[in-house]
Symmetry: C2
Subunit: 262 residues, 2 copies
């Protein structure tokens, strides 16, 4: 099977012009089918503030009310997504910006109201990815660039960018050998959270279970690792957790981050 | 050749929720390949005002400075485009929202600075349409929905929606028998501007030249007619100018608007 890179970048890269320019150049240079998923960044909060829209939190969890949803639709789906797309085009990368509504690529379920009403938030599964259309776009050498938005019942919904990346990887694992790359601010999963050089270079299920029992992981990395092993169990060949500035190395054989396999 | 409908709606429909809902239902019901191009609407001006961005005019012409360009990128490319896409999806129409940057569909030239510097405005020609990708999308039963934005040299540019519709029609006329439909507030081209019932039902080059010499057209309609006959001369089979609420009739044989042919 052909290799496919699915790469997620967070808001911290988007907020740092120098880091972003460097990341986009690296991303454009990857000579293989690839998909980019971007998060939000501080610009959405800034524009929301200027428009007088308050962030709502219940029990420390952010709520997406209708006004906030419209701001993220504008900022994630319009401003950030189209700026990235135009910049990648100038780097000879045939980027195509999209949300989950476009081409019904990511049909979501609006999160049911339980103890908390999260508002306009969409939950997705690999079964609800239009992988036929995505596969066809990749075959045309198009590079999909996803904003963290999905849809249900005629509405745009806010969806976590990490989740979108994982779900896309699982849905496309029938067609490609996938390396799913999560870019974040650290070089990888650290054995010692206070030692930036203690990156665990290779992690498989066996070692993960062992380190988990030993309590080696700090709380912040656990959801990322759970997410990664879920993807591996669902057919994704490799998950890499690493720093955004190490992208080129992390798409090759001599990776700098944490390479996770079955 | 197969028929393709290329349909442009203006901001007045977008600003009127009842008219928009009805238009989208009609558009979704068309059982043929189709493309939608939407204009802006007052919401961009409103959001620009709220963000403290002033509209700039020189000699009565609107200038797109960088801040205004970012607002239209957000509002046209994000909010309006994604809302329309999500609503069409709920109407079982496989809409895919896009700008000219996406998939390099509309590569523009930034308008050269002459007597006026229009700012971030893109001029386009049929030669710079990625018609291969558009053709493939249409073959996949995808319905492209264009925001009036193009790109050049890594930047998003503002481009007139009527121009985008015409240029797409010309570029795709090799592959399809095209009916290019401009929806506006009147039923069609009027013989007597004060009589709403005086729609010229059929207009060809001969009759157009005759009426032009007689001075029958008022100034407002002349640019639309010139645009229409330019498209006809460049290979577009039919151009229809009509009211947005007459869309279903205007996609059939018994048209209510002005049907323009060679």
């Amino acid at each position: 099977m052909n290799k496919l890179y699915i790469i997620k970048i967070g808001g911290n890269v988007l907020d740092d012009e120098k880091a972003l320019a460097s990341f986009l150049t690296d991303f454009a240079s990857i000579q293989a089918p690839k998909i980019l998923i971007h998060g939000g960044g501080k610009i959405a909060t800034k524009i929301g503030d200027q428009l007088g829209i308050k962030s709502n939190y219940v029990d420390g969890r952010r709520i997406t009310d209708a006004a906030t949803r419209d701001v993220v639709t504008m900022v994630y789906g319009g401003l950030i997504n189209k700026q990235i797309t135009a910049r990648l085009q100038a780097l000879h990368c045939n980027a195509m910006g999209m949300t989950g509504a476009d081409g019904n690529l990511l049909k979501a379920t609006k999160r049911p109201v339980g103890k908390i009403d999260y508002g306009f938030v969409g939950d997705i599964t690999a079964e609800n990815v239009n992988s036929t259309l995505l596969y066809f776009l990749l075959k045309q050498n198009v590079v999909p660039v996803f904003a963290p938005l999905t849809h249900a019942a005629g509405e745009i919904l806010n969806t976590n960018a990490d989740t979108i990346a994982s779900v896309l990887a699982v849905a496309l694992s029938k067609h490609f050998d996938i390396r799913l790359i999560f870019c974040f601010e650290k070089a990888g999963v650290l054995k010692d959270v206070n030692d930036a050089d203690s990156v665990i270079r290779n992690l498989n299920t066996e070692l993960y279970q062992k380190l988990l029992k030993e309590g080696s992981f700090h709380d912040g990395i656990l959801p990322k690792l759970e997410n990664a092993f879920n993807a591996i169990r669902s057919g994704v060949k490799e998950v890499l957790i690493g720093e955004h500035s190490h992208l080129v190395a992390n798409t090759g054989y001599e990776t700098k981050g944490t390479l996770i396999t079955a």
